[in-house]
Structure formats: C-alpha cells, structure tokens
C-alpha cells in the first residue's frame, strides 16, 4: 500500500520495498527492531476511521509479525495525498494508515487477525466486512 501510494500518488516513481532488493528508493525498509511475534501498544489518531472502529479506545495492544515498516525519511508520505496516519506506536513510528476519502482503505503494520476470536471478532475485520456488504 505504501509503495503504491508513494509511486502513484506522491510522485516518487522509483519508490520500492527493501525486501525485494534491486534499484529504487526504499520507502519501506527493514525495521531497526524486528516485530516478529511481538506485541505493540498503538495510539489511535482521534477523528480517524480507526478511532471510529475502536470507540473509546485511544490506546490498545496489537500483535505484530513483520520486519519492515515505513522508512523514517519517508514518514511524511503517510500524511499526504489523501492518506492519513491512523495509529502510531510508543516510539511514534507509523503503525496504521488509511485514506480519508475512501469507503474503507486501511493498512496496518500489525496483524489485527492475530487477536480475533469467534467470541471477540476484531473490529477492523467486522468493519471491513460491513463495508463490503455496503
């Protein structure tokens, strides 16, 4: 999502993902600290769709399983071209983004699926399914 946004919305035509190697400008880079099988506490940005999805929760614990994130030099792209930051972690790194004018366009550098259960479906997924239903 971030590479597509960088290339086609923010005009960084050479934007790339460091995991794929090769030439280009890696807007997604290896995290300084791996988040494989980890938990992070996120702070939800007020007024966003994510805040609507988690009403009354300004912070919450989520589980992660990744080694890559938005490169610090390109953090600005998460707040431009119709994209906005939905959540950051306790180091202020971007952990979720969304498009403000879109029906439902949400990306997370955590896995909301990892804290879902049949008794407690994760609100991101239930909100997504409702958006698909229209």
């Amino acid at each position: 999502m971030l590479v597509e946004h960088a290339r086609n919305v923010m005009g960084i035509e050479a934007a790339s993902h460091a995991e794929y190697g090769g030439p280009g400008v890696p807007v997604v880079s290896l995290l300084s600290c791996s988040l494989v099988e980890s938990e992070i506490e996120i702070s939800i940005t007020p007024g966003t769709r994510l805040a609507q999805i988690h009403p009354g929760e300004s912070r919450r614990i989520e589980r992660t399983h990744c080694n890559y994130g938005l490169a610090p030099d390109f953090a600005y792209i998460a707040s431009g071209g119709g994209m906005r930051i939905s959540a950051v972690d306790d180091t202020s790194e971007v952990r979720a983004v969304e498009r403000s004018e879109h029906t439902f366009f949400f990306g997370a550098l955590y896995q909301p699926q990892r804290t879902s259960s049949r008794d407690h479906p994760h609100p991101v997924w239930t909100s997504f399914v409702r958006a698909v239903q229209g």
Partner: protein, 84 residues
Amino acid sequence: MSRVITVLMDLSEQDASFRYTVDALDHAVAAASSDVVVRIVRTDEIDVLGDGVVIGPGSPYRDAAAAEDVIRTAREKGLPLVGT
C-alpha cells in the same frame, strides 16, 4: 448474489499468518450474519477482485507488481481494502 472478498495471499495453508487471516475473516462474517464469500488467491493467479480486497501477510509476494495493481484499482475505484 453474495458479495465476494478476495484475499491476496501466497502463504501456505499451514502458515500461522494464513490461518489467522482466514479465521479472522470467518469470525467477522459470522458476527455480521453475512453471506459474504471469502476466496484466497495467489498474487500470480489474480483474476477478478470481487467487492473487497485483503492484501494478506506474507511478503515478498510471488507477483508484487500484480498486488500493487490491485491496490491501485481498489484505491481508484473505491473498493474496500485492508492490508496487513
């Protein structure tokens, strides 16, 4: 006709992230009492997108350009999308 969610995911069915993703969607569909159909598609076998798209875990993808094309289409056409 039931609405369709296409999940782009190249992981094997034995991978924990694959199971978490499929199960979480099942939980959400059940909670919504929905008849939404969830289909898993590899990035090098993308055909139709349906009514919503999940860019699943498990990069690097087999066909990253195809996955990026799907994201662009969802952005431009207003298709609901979640990427994790």
